[in-house]
Structures are given as structure tokens and as C-alpha cells.
């Protein structure tokens, strides 16, 4: 189970990582593994505003359809267009090529409210 140190985590199994002016977000390795083969990802369009903990989109796998929640508030700068044809990237590379959205204008306070890798690891164990 991969939990990179350079990301912050939510209890709903999203990760977020600051990359220059933007915050990149996706779902964790644990999340993709629990969902099984991802078949479809519905993401917001650029320019759309999202709120921390609010709806970000929907992810469908062969097992279930689940809501995605925004790890931080902000404006969607880009959604990962590659997922339209290759949703399996979320399974293969959840922290890199399978990213979901890039957000701009995010708040440091909100970022600080998320779990670090160690806390998320402990959270997963407590949930297991």
C-alpha cells in the first residue's frame, strides 16, 4: 500500500499535493484498490468552484459508483482529460498519471487540517 510522504490526505481517501501555484488531487492507492477496476470518472470542468468536503465528481468501478469529495476549496484549473479514455490510470498510477484535478486559490489553513502520510496510515489501520 503506497502512501507518499509528499501528500496530504482526507478521511474520504483523497490525496492532495501542492505543485507550484496549484494543488493536485486524486484518490489514494487504498481507495483505488478497494474500488477495483475503474471504468469511468466524472470530473468538474475548468473554472468551476469546489468546496472542501463538497462534491468533486463521481468515480465508477466494476463494483460501485462513488462520490468524490474535494480535499480543498478552490477553483478547478484543470481536470485530467486522459481519464476519459483511460480511466484505468487511476488504478495503475493513483498518485501520478491518475490524478483527478488541479485546483488554484487553495488555502493553507485547509491544507493544514488534512492528515499527513503517517496519520493517514494510522487512520487506515484504525478503519481496517
Amino acid at each position: 500500500m503506497s502512501i507518499p510522504d509528499n501528500c496530504s490526505y482526507t478521511k474520504t481517501h483523497e490525496w492532495v499535493r501542492i505543485d507550484g501555484d496549484l494543488a493536485v488531487a486524486g484518490i489514494t492507492d487504498h481507495a483505488q484498490e478497494s474500488l477495483g477496476d475503474i471504468t469511468y470518472v466524472e470530473l468538474p470542468s475548468s473554472g468551476q468552484r469546489v468546496e472542501q468536503g463538497g462534491e468533486l465528481g463521481v468515480i465508477e468501478s466494476v463494483k460501485a459508483a462513488s462520490d468524490l469529495y474535494a480535499p480543498l476549496s478552490g477553483e478547478v484549473a484543470e481536470a485530467n482529460a486522459a481519464l476519459a479514455d483511460q480511466p484505468e490510470l487511476v488504478n495503475e498510477s493513483p498518485y501520478e498519471r491518475g490524478w483527478l484535478v488541479k485546483l488554484r486559490d487553495v488555502s493553507g489553513d485547509e491544507l493544514a487540517s488534512l492528515m499527513d502520510a503517517e496519520a493517514y496510515g494510522a487512520f487506515l489501520e484504525s478503519e481496517a
Binding site: Y40, E42, V58, E60, A64, A65
Partner: protein
């Protein structure tokens, strides 16, 4: 498959667990005012009595009329094979079993029906059917709102007035900003429609042929809408699709329609058949069931329900609609009808309808005082202006076993003298002549 899920012994056992000695005791907690009380039912009839009783009721239907009424529902010929196929016991349940993949035959029939609807409309995907043309249009509205995140819908007044009423009723509890645009000379008022478009507009709804029977090529409206990210919904008459420009050809986003004309008999209130087709891009916003073709683990062809995440049994509050079933038996009839007629057969039906309607229009137009509205091309239905209220003419002709058409004053203000006349392939030259003579006799006596 039995739909009564428990036996008397099981009910007894359940009551015992509840500590009640009868069903009545179990329902004691419901206040008497909310209970139906004693039912005053008539005594049971013998089979012979019952048949006579039902025959008397059925005889009250005026099914013997020579029918020139349309308005979205048409008196087409139904080959006997449609009944024979649809009444096969393998198919003769309108319900998809809860493990649908168990019924490969049912799913295959639905899949083939979907394919036929796609071919008829030139669209990429069609669902397994909805209740009727009106509810399909209602669902299309909700689909457009969900797909665009916008709130305004512009509706052409040439859309079946029954459908418009249904749309308003169906969406009464959603905050939709509806705008109706009146037709000019029976045709869509494109300038006015375009003027009503704004950044909040989700969709424009059009109908072809429209309620007045007028054929239209809506491609200019479609391109104006698409420039602004607005979807176009078109309600169509499936038989006309065999010869007219299809929704797919003009770039429509969502197509709906009434499938009654495809092998389903006319009846008060149905059951009818709503069809819906859309683009691949919008498929996840489409309500209703969808059958897909795949291969099983042995590599053999198999049919499955697919994209079920749109449906309410997977994500109740996020479902695309509260529809979670389909009109399987009616869809099967449409499938059988289209298969029996084939591409050329359906074209022949459409050509006959149009030619006979043209003959009827010519005959009626020749009567003094009667004017057929000819400012726009029509398909199998046309509007006639009479020198007397249309209702009066209908009242007299019904007595002669002729239903000459629908009184437009019932649906449109100021159109009391207008009659909407529909002609299908079933009407003979003789019957059309009879209609013309009967109308002439009323007007010229």
C-alpha cells in the same frame, strides 16, 4: 416466476414472531380513519357472466369509427405476427426479473430494439424504453438540466400540448424557467427562439413533424444552440423518420418520441411506449435501463444491463431519474413490428401515409368554405380551417361513425374553427371520399 413471495405457513410464522394472531391484529396500530374499512364488492361472477359483462363494457368503446384522429397517436396497421411474438409466454411478462441477466432472450430483444431506435433516429445510443412519448420528453428535460447545470428551457409551441402539460406537471417541483415560443403559420419561429436563448438556457425542445403536422428541418436552430452550449431535444414521430431528415443528421442531442405507431394498438391511456436516444457523450446522463452486448467468460455473446450507476438502485439520491424500469412488452412489439416491416417496409408505410394524407387534403380543400393550411409541408397530418366550430362538425360525423379529426380549439386559443386531420396507410380511398362527402354534406346543407 411467482410474485407472491410467501406462503400461508410463512405468514403464520411471521405473525407468531410479531406476537399477533392475525393480519388484522398486526395492522391495529393504523388509525381507523386511515384504513379502507369494509369493501363493498359485488358477488363473484361465473366465467360466462364475466365475459358478457366485460363485452358490454368493451362495446362502449367507439372502436368501429373510421379514424382520422392523430395528435401523436395513430391508427396504423399491426401485422398479426406482432401479437403472436409478443404473446409468447417467454416474453409475456412486462417485468424484467431482478437478476436480469438470467433472461438472455428478454435482454437480447431489448438490445435489438435499442439498435432499431438508433438506426431509425441516427443516434448513437437508445435506452430500453420509457413509459410514453410525453414522459420521455419530461425525462429529456431533466437530463438536459443535469448535463448543462443550467435552468432555462425554451419550448416550441408546436410540441404536442399534452406533452407540454406533462412536462409542466412532471417538473413542477424543480425550479425550471420555461419559455414557450408560439409557432408562426404552423412553423417554429426560429428568430424568436434564438432571441430567447441566454447563458442559463439548458435546452430547446422541438417536435418534428409538429402538432400541426408540419415538417421542419431544424438544423439552423440546432447550430445556433450548439454555438452557445445549449442542447437540442427533438420529439419525433417514428414512422416519419423513415423518410424525413433524422435527428442524428441535423445534430440533435436528445431524441424522444411515442412508439405507439410501431405495432401498439390505440387505447385510452396506453400502455404506450416512450423511446429515447442520445449521443455517446450524454449516455451517462440518460435515464432508464440500457442493455449492452458483451462476451461471457467462455467468449460467447451475452447481453447485460450496463451503466447501471445511473440508476436509482445503485445510487438512489444521485440517480439520473426515478425511472428504474422499462416498457419491455411494448418495446418488444415495436421490435417485432420494425423487424417484420424492415427498412423498406417502413418507408412504404410512410410514403402511403403521406400520399393518402395529400389526397385527403386535396379532397377537403375542394369543399366550399374549407381551407387546408398549406403554408408549410406536412407529413400525414394537416390543419383545416372550417366555416363552423370544429367540435360541431365532429359531433355530427361521429354519429355517422367517422372521427374526422381533433378540434384544435381544445389545445390552442382562438383555433375553435380548426380541425387536425390525420391519415394513415389504413385509410382507403373510399373512406377518404366518405369523409369528404360527409363534411361537404354538413357544410353545404
Amino acid at each position: 416466476m411467482s410474485y407472491i413471495s410467501n406462503t400461508a405457513a410463512q405468514r403464520e410464522a411471521m405473525l407468531k414472531v410479531c406476537g399477533k394472531d392475525s393480519i388484522e391484529a398486526l395492522f391495529e396500530g393504523i388509525p381507523p380513519s386511515l384504513r379502507c374499512g369494509e369493501l363493498d364488492l359485488p358477488h363473484a361472477r361465473s366465467e360466462m357472466e364475466l365475459r358478457g359483462f366485460l363485452r358490454d363494457i368493451a362495446a362502449r368503446n367507439y372502436s368501429h369509427l373510421t379514424n382520422f384522429m392523430g395528435g401523436g397517436f395513430y391508427d396504423h396497421f399491426i401485422p398479426a405476427a406482432v401479437d403472436a411474438i409478443a404473446s409468447r409466454s417467454e416474453f409475456y411478462t412486462a417485468y424484467t426479473p431482478y437478476q436480469p441477466e438470467l433472461s438472455q432472450g428478454t435482454l437480447q430483444a431489448i438490445y435489438e430494439y435499442q439498435t432499431q431506435i438508433c438506426r431509425l433516429t441516427d443516434m448513437e445510443v437508445a435506452n430500453a424504453s420509457l413509459y410514453d412519448g410525453g414522459s420521455a420528453l419530461c425525462e429529456a428535460c431533466q437530463m438536459a438540466l443535469n448535463a448543462t447545470g443550467r435552468t432555462r428551457i425554451v419550448m416550441d409551441s408546436g410540441i404536442n400540448p399534452v406533452y407540454r402539460t406533462m412536462v409542466y406537471t412532471y417538473t413542477a417541483n424543480l425550479s425550471i424557467d420555461f419559455k414557450e415560443v408560439a409557432v408562426v403559420h404552423g412553423q417554429s419561429d426560429r428568430q424568436h427562439i434564438v432571441d430567447e436563448l441566454n447563458g442559463e438556457t439548458a435546452a430547446v425542445i422541438l417536435q418534428n413533424p409538429n402538432f400541426f403536422g408540419v415538417i421542419d428541418d431544424h438544423s439552423d436552430i440546432v447550430s445556433r444552440c450548439h454555438e452557445r452550449g445549449i442542447l437540442v431535444i427533438q420529439s419525433v414521430y417514428p414512422v416519419a423518420m423513415a423518410v424525413l431528415k433524422t435527428p442524428g443528421e441535423i445534430g440533435v442531442d436528445i431524441v424522444t418520441g411515442e412508439g405507439q405507431s410501431l405495432g401498439i394498438p390505440l387505447a385510452f391511456g396506453g400502455p404506450y411506449l416512450g423511446f429515447m436516444a442520445t449521443t455517446r457523450k450524454l449516455v451517462r446522463k440518460m435515464p432508464g435501463r440500457l442493455v449492452g452486448r458483451t462476451v461471457d467468460r467462455n467468449g460467447d455473446e451475452a447481453f447485460v444491463l450496463t451503466l447501471q450507476a445511473r440508476e436509482q438502485h445503485i445510487r438512489r439520491e444521485k440517480a439520473t431519474s426515478n425511472i428504474c424500469t422499462n416498457e419491455a412488452l411494448c418495446a418488444l412489439r415495436a421490435h417485432a413490428y420494425l423487424s417484420l416491416l424492415g427498412k423498406h417496409g417502413l418507408k412504404e408505410v410512410a410514403r402511403l401515409c403521406r400520399a393518402k394524407a395529400a389526397y385527403a387534403a386535396e379532397r377537403l380543400d375542394a369543399i366550399r368554405g374549407v381551407e387546408v393550411m398549406r403554408s408549410n409541408p406536412t407529413f400525414n397530418e394537416f390543419t383545416v380551417r372550417l366555416p363552423i366550430p370544429a367540435g360541431d362538425l365532429i359531433g355530427i360525423l361521429i354519429e355517422q361513425d367517422i372521427a374526422p379529426g381533433l378540434p384544435l380549439g381544445r389545445f390552442y386559443k382562438g383555433m375553435g374553427d380548426y380541425l387536425l386531420v390525420a391519415v394513415t396507410e389504413k385509410r382507403t380511398k373510399y373512406e377518404i371520399g366518405m369523409l369528404a362527402e360527409a363534411v361537404e354534406a354538413v357544410l353545404c346543407r
